[in-house]
């Protein structure tokens, strides 16, 4: 545990000492909730259609895939015309693209970023590294199955997949969303303990709250 997260005794301005427990006092402790579709089907269909046509990707690059994402913004591929754009903050993004291998250290950040996104949210794994470790299958520091840790909606294979493959993948994701099958966020909430166990098994210094709201 990092020092700044340990319990500490502080002295208030009135001279009274009290204890501050950062993990409890500074972070929300509630576990994620399942948010099932609640509206009438036609409304939900509309929403799902809108979600599929407005995919906001969190600009978070891991591994070499981050390089493959960039051409999507260029005139040649122009992903914007498919309603895809990049957002700089997880709060506003729907799609977390894990663009390559995840070291344990990066996994920690990826989990945090994922948890801070709002339901519904999607995860796409990019390249073989996210599927089975790829060329890092024997690395001491790289996870091999992304779906053990995050609810992956879609994998795009390749080492690395080309931007065209990405676009194709996103089109498939859209279909999933429209079909109402992309419920990763709820899946994560339902199997929260399982995911957490997996995560904690590889992240040895778990110095964050269980759920990063």
């Amino acid at each position: 545990m990092k020092e700044e997260l340990l319990k500490r005794v502080v002295k208030g301005p009135d001279g009274v000492e009290f204890e501050v427990e950062p993990l409890r006092d500074y972070y929300c402790e509630a576990p994620p909730a399942v948010h099932p579709p609640v509206y009438a089907k036609i409304v939900e269909d509309l929403f799902n259609w809108a979600r599929s046509q407005s995919i906001w990707i969190l600009g978070f690059g891991t591994g070499c895939g981050a390089i493959e994402m960039r051409p999507l913004m260029t005139p040649r591929f122009d992903a914007y015309r498919y309603g895809i754009q990049w957002r700089p903050t997880p709060r506003q993004a729907n799609l977390l693209v894990i663009s390559g291998y995840l070291s344990v250290k990066t996994l920690k950040r990826a989990i945090r970023a994922y948890e801070q996104m709002q339901n519904p949210k999607y995860v796409v794994g990019l390249g073989s590294c996210t599927i089975n470790g790829g060329m890092y299958w024997d690395s001491y520091n790289t996870i091999k199955r992304l779906d053990d840790y995050l609810p992956v909606d879609l994998y795009i294979t390749g080492c690395m997949p080309r931007p065209e493959a990405l676009l194709a993948g996103f089109e498939d994701l859209k279909k999933l969303i429209r079909a109402g099958k992309a419920e990763g966020a709820n899946q994560y909430a339902e199997n929260f303990d399982w995911y957490k166990t997996n995560q904690k098994r590889v992240i040895h210094d778990w110095d964050m709250p269980d759920y990063n709201w």
């Binding site: 502080v10 208030g12 009290f18």
Partner: protein
């Protein structure tokens, strides 16, 4: 009546008898001494009563039974009676204060003491020149003897050296005096002073040189600059009780002697006396500045005061019959205060000025100290105030402007070191040695205090009789304020209730008298003041000193709006200045700021005094309304002086450096008083000024136009400085400077809407600045800091303070729908009709800058990250919150129906500015250019807001409440709240862009000025080498210089 001769006789007999007593019977000897002194005082008092109560003519006492020139004669008149009473009483009380040392030294010392007092009385009483010489020599010998006898008490040789220096000087003096006397006698054939005067000594052959020698000898006894090194050494080294006598009684006697001599010298010698006096007054005050030894400082101050009185004597040609009133007022103020201070110094163990901090644990002694320094500074209601008022007026009436300026300048320096000293007393670390509270010593001080207030009353009555002025001490608000001195032992809540009741009652009693303009100010001063006082309920205990100070300020404010004559106005002005100074000084670290406040304020007040004096042109009674009858070339000068005076209070740019510290360091409930309420006094002054005098042209510069520029620059710089403050209260203080700039700008527009805007600012600024100061003060109270970057995230813990701040900043920024918008709207309409367009550009820039500091205020305190140590902070105390909530309500009401107040003012302004008013058509307010419907705005904004809010509530009904670290942080987690709260150096890019505008040039200017004065004083005083012989050279040099000047002006 007992013959005054007995004053002398009794002392001589007693001194003789003391010699017969056995050395061991010290107690008896002491009693004899005291009884003798009491008897002498009683005789003088008796005479004084006779002269006061009846119109008795002065009595001549012929000692040898024949009239002069064949015998010595004494005279007992009003002045003589008063002065001998002063001398004898000082002797008596000093004798009392010196009890220990007199008892130790035995009967010889007591005999010498009696002789000294007797000799001083003799100087006053005698009308014979040679007799006067004898009494002077007696005084010298007695003084030297006392020093010699008392030497073994300190046993360090310092006193001895001082005494010897005194003797050297007096040898020279007596030589001059004797030769002068003999030649004067030779010329006139008489030794009688009146005889010499009647024969016009100075016109006779060789008479003028004879007179010069006598004159210079007596003057030298007054310790003029620079021939006064010896006197300072005596002051510094002698027993304080003796110094009291030396300062109060010797000074008085010597001054009267000088006065008698001037009778002989006639009008030609008056300028010389004036010159010596003013040089001494200025130089001694300057030299007092760098002093750290209390008694030496008092010595310098004594010399300065003597110099001032000499100026008055020298100006008798224009002061005429009032000389007595003025010189008497100054002399008695000086004598009582200085004696009191010397006695007080006997109670304090250390000799550094800081050591006087020991007084702090004795409120009564602090009160005594305050009384004395206010008396010395010439603040109302003390006699010196009346005297100074008349003096300045008469000088101005005769056009002696340079002298007037020097007097005021020097008085300001004097106030500077005295109030600085008071700051030390209140704020410096208390020394280890406690105050000596022996009853006889304390009693002496208290007698002086009583005398001070008694004289104040007396002079008030005299002023009433002579000039038809009301006695200040009888003014009801002042009495009410002073009554809190007596109530001070009561608990604070009770006093608070009384204070509030008093203020509301006074408003109720007087509200019918005010026109709408004054009504605004009256409501702010009295009702607003009462409202602010609600916050004071939060204080526990007795809060010694708070209520007298606060009520003094409010008394001044209450009197200010009712004042119709310049005198009443100025009295009120001084009272509110002093009261607020004491209030500000109560803050924890406010010592330097309170000092700069009082200095700027007194400087401003002196400007006002000079302005009024110039305007009055010698008329004893001058009403404020007559200001408008002034014509060129006088009017612009008066305008300039008054405007600068008022602008020190509104903290216009250049004169603003006192404000931030003073407002920020003041206590929680004091800040709103001095900011929300007190600043308005300056605006009130400006309004009075502009109403009566209007536009003035000063060498081609339109002064109102200049004010326009000053207002605009003040607004800009005030706002700009505010955004760079880390201290929340300093931020608000700078913001006040900016807001006052706006108001001043509005006034200077000199049109209907400009004034309306200024008045709107007056009201709004009172409400929101009081509210913000209270809110911030409450937060600072709870968190123990005023630095904003150390706060943060307090919104959930202090929601009410947050609401007040939120409403406050919306109102300040002028965003609709709150009341600040009204001000902006009127402002825009006002400038459209004005010709001066360029200053507005500055104001346009200043406007948005306000957003910067306002956002910073609310964000860094209430939003952002909550810190560890503040997690358990509670909401501010109820009594601090309550007035804030009332202010919130007021703001909302004013926002919806601004017409409640403004309509009346608008209508009232029609008589001054008939064009361009607003029309109040139902709910719509229309000007020549635009329109504005506050209720509609409020409703529209409210409806839209509520609709959207409900919609969001519906959509986000299940939103998860998260905590402060649940933020997206580039996928990291925050480290600690301190490093996550972005608050310090908040507007760094702005500093890069426009920071050059905030260079502290003004502070640099003023600190250079004060440094210069200090350095000048410090260098000049090197000139007192401590060598008795050097002092003798000084004396001879002085004589020669005066001779050259004196003979130069002879016909």
């Amino acid at each position: 009546m007992v013959s005054p001769l007995y004053i002398i006789a009794v002392a001589l007999v007693a001194a003789f008898l003391l010699g017969l007593l056995k050395e061991e019977r010290r107690g008896l000897a002491y009693s004899v001494t005291l009884v003798t002194l009491a008897l002498m005082s009683w005789i003088s008092a008796n005479w004084l009563w006779l002269f006061i109560s009846t119109d008795a003519v002065p009595v001549e006492i012929y000692t040898a039974g024949t009239a002069p020139p064949f015998a010595i004669n004494l005279r007992m008149g009003l002045v003589e009676a008063a002065l001998t009473l002063l001398i004898n009483l000082t002797g008596l009380i000093s004798g009392l204060a010196m009890k220990d040392s007199l008892l130790r030294q035995g009967r010889r010392a007591m005999a010498v003491w009696l002789v000294a007092v007797m000799a001083l009385s003799g100087i006053v009483l005698t009308r014979d020149m040679f007799n006067m010489f004898v009494f002077f020599e007696l005084a010298v010998i007695a003084t030297a003897g006392l020093v010699l006898i008392s030497e073994h008490i300190r046993n360090d040789g310092l006193t001895l050296a001082a005494g010897f220096k005194y003797m050297i000087t007096s040898q020279f003096i007596s030589t001059f005096l004797l030769i002068g006397i003999i030649f004067a006698y030779h010329a006139t054939g008489t030794l009688n002073i009146d005889g010499m005067a009647n024969t016009s000594l100075v016109l006779l052959n060789g008479g003028s040189i004879a007179f010069f020698l006598m004159f210079i000898a007596i003057i030298a006894e007054l310790k003029p600059f620079p021939a006064n090194g010896w006197a300072l050494d005596i002051y510094e080294s002698a027993d304080p009780a003796f110094s009291a006598l030396f300062s109060a009684a010797t000074g008085a006697a010597a001054l009267y002697a000088a006065d008698k001599l001037l009778l002989i010298g006639g009008a030609e010698w008056l300028p010389i006396a004036t010159g010596i006096g003013i040089v001494t007054f200025v130089a001694a005050n300057l030299l007092a500045l760098p002093q750290t030894h209390d008694r030496r400082l008092l010595g310098y101050s004594s010399i300065a005061q003597t110099g001032l009185i000499l100026v008055v004597l020298g100006q008798r040609d224009i002061l005429g019959e009032h000389t007595l009133f003025i010189a008497g007022g100054l002399l008695l103020s000086h004598a009582v205060a200085k004696a009191g201070l010397f006695w007080l110094s006997g109670l304090v163990a250390g000799r550094e000025l800081n050591a006087w901090a020991a007084l702090r644990s004795h409120p009564l002694l602090v009160f005594a100290f305050v009384t004395f320094i206010c008396m010395l500074t010439g603040l109302p209601p003390f006699p010196g105030f009346y005297a100074k008022w008349e003096l300045i007026h008469l000088l101005a009436g005769e056009g002696r402007i340079a002298l007037l300026g020097l007097i005021l300048f020097s008085a300001l320096i004097e106030a500077g070191y005295l109030f600085r000293w008071f700051g030390y007393v209140m704020k410096r670390e208390s020394p280890a040695e406690p105050v000596d509270t022996a009853p006889h010593k304390t009693a002496a001080v208290l007698v002086a205090v009583i005398a001070a207030w008694g004289l104040s009353f007396l002079w008030g009555e005299l002023a009433g009789a002579l000039f038809g002025r009301g006695n200040i001490l009888l003014a009801l608000p002042l009495l009410f304020a002073l009554s809190f001195l007596l109530l001070d032992p009561l608990p604070a809540w009770l006093k608070n209730t009384l204070a509030i009741a008093g203020m509301v009652a006074w408003f109720y009693l007087t509200y019918t008298e005010y026109d709408p303009l004054r009504m605004i100010f009256a409501a702010i001063f009295l009702i607003g003041g009462a409202l602010t006082l609600l916050a004071s309920y939060h204080a526990h205990g007795k809060r010694i000193g708070f209520y007298p100070s606060a009520m003094l300020m409010y008394a001044g404010l209450a009197m200010l709006i009712r004042a119709t004559s310049t005198f009443d106005f100025f009295v009120a002005w001084e009272l509110l200045t002093v009261g607020s100074y004491f209030l500000i000084l109560r803050g924890k670290h406010s010592e330097p700021h309170a000092l700069s406040y009082i200095l700027f304020s007194l400087g401003g007040a002196f400007m006002i005094l000079a302005g009024f004096a110039l305007a009055a042109q010698g008329a004893p009674h001058f009403s404020l309304a007559s200001l408008q009858e002034l014509a060129q070339p006088l009017a612009p000068w008066v305008f300039l002086l008054l405007a600068i005076g008022f602008m020190t209070k509104t903290a216009a740019i250049g004169l603003h450096i006192w404000l931030p510290g003073a407002h920020a360091e003041a206590e929680t409930d004091v800040s709103p008083m001095v900011s929300g309420i007190l600043l308005k006094a300056g605006l009130y002054g400006l309004i009075m000024l502009l109403l009566t005098m209007g536009r003035q042209n000063f060498y081609g510069v339109d002064l109102v136009n200049a004010m326009l520029w000053i207002g605009a620059i003040t607004a800009l710089i005030g706002n700009l400085l505010a955004i760079f403050q880390e201290d929340a209260k300093r931020l608000l203080a700078y913001s006040s400077i900016g807001q006052m700039g706006y108001a001043m700008f509005g006034l200077a527009l000199m049109n209907h809407l400009g004034w309306l805007m200024a008045l709107m600012f007056v009201i709004n600024h009172y409400v929101y600045k009081s509210m913000l100061f209270l809110a911030v003060g409450g937060v600072a109270k709870r968190t123990g800091t005023r630095e904003m970057y150390r706060m943060g995230g307090l919104i959930t813990l202090m929601p009410l303070s947050f609401i007040a701040t939120l409403i406050g900043i919306i109102a300040v920024s002028g965003v609709p729908p709150l009341s600040g918008f009204g001000g902006r709207w009127i402002f825009y309409n006002a400038i459209l009709t004005s010709e001066a367009r360029l200053p507005m550009i500055i104001l346009f820039l200043a406007g948005p800058i306000a957003f910067l500091y306002l956002f910073r205020l609310i964000y860094t305190i209430f939003l952002g990250q909550l810190k560890d140590e503040f997690r358990r902070v509670k909401e501010a105390p109820f009594w601090i919150i309550l007035p804030q909530m009332i202010y919130v309500a007021i703001l909302l009401v004013v926002a919806v129906v601004p017409g409640l107040v403004l309509r009346h003012v608008d209508a009232y302004l029609d008589q001054f500015f008939p064009n361009g008013g607003l029309s109040w058509d139902g709910m719509i307010i229309t000007s020549d250019f635009g329109y504005w419907n506050p209720i509609a705005i409020m409703i529209i904004v409210g409806v839209i807001f509520m609709t959207l809010f409900s919609w969001l509530l519906f959509v986000n009904r299940r939103a998860q409440k998260v905590k402060q670290f649940n933020i997206v942080f580039s996928a990291e987690r925050p480290f600690r709240p301190e490093t996550t709260h972005f608050a310090w150096n908040f507007f760094a890019p702005y500093r890069k862009a426009l920071g050059f505008l905030t260079l502290p040039l003004v502070t640099l200017f003023w600190s250079t000025m004060t440094d210069f004065l200090h350095t000048a004083g410090d260098l000049t005083r090197r000139f007192y080498t401590g060598n008795g012989q050097t002092y003798a050279y000084h004396l001879l040099g002085f004589v020669i210089i005066v001779y050259l000047f004196g003979m130069g002006i002879q016909p």
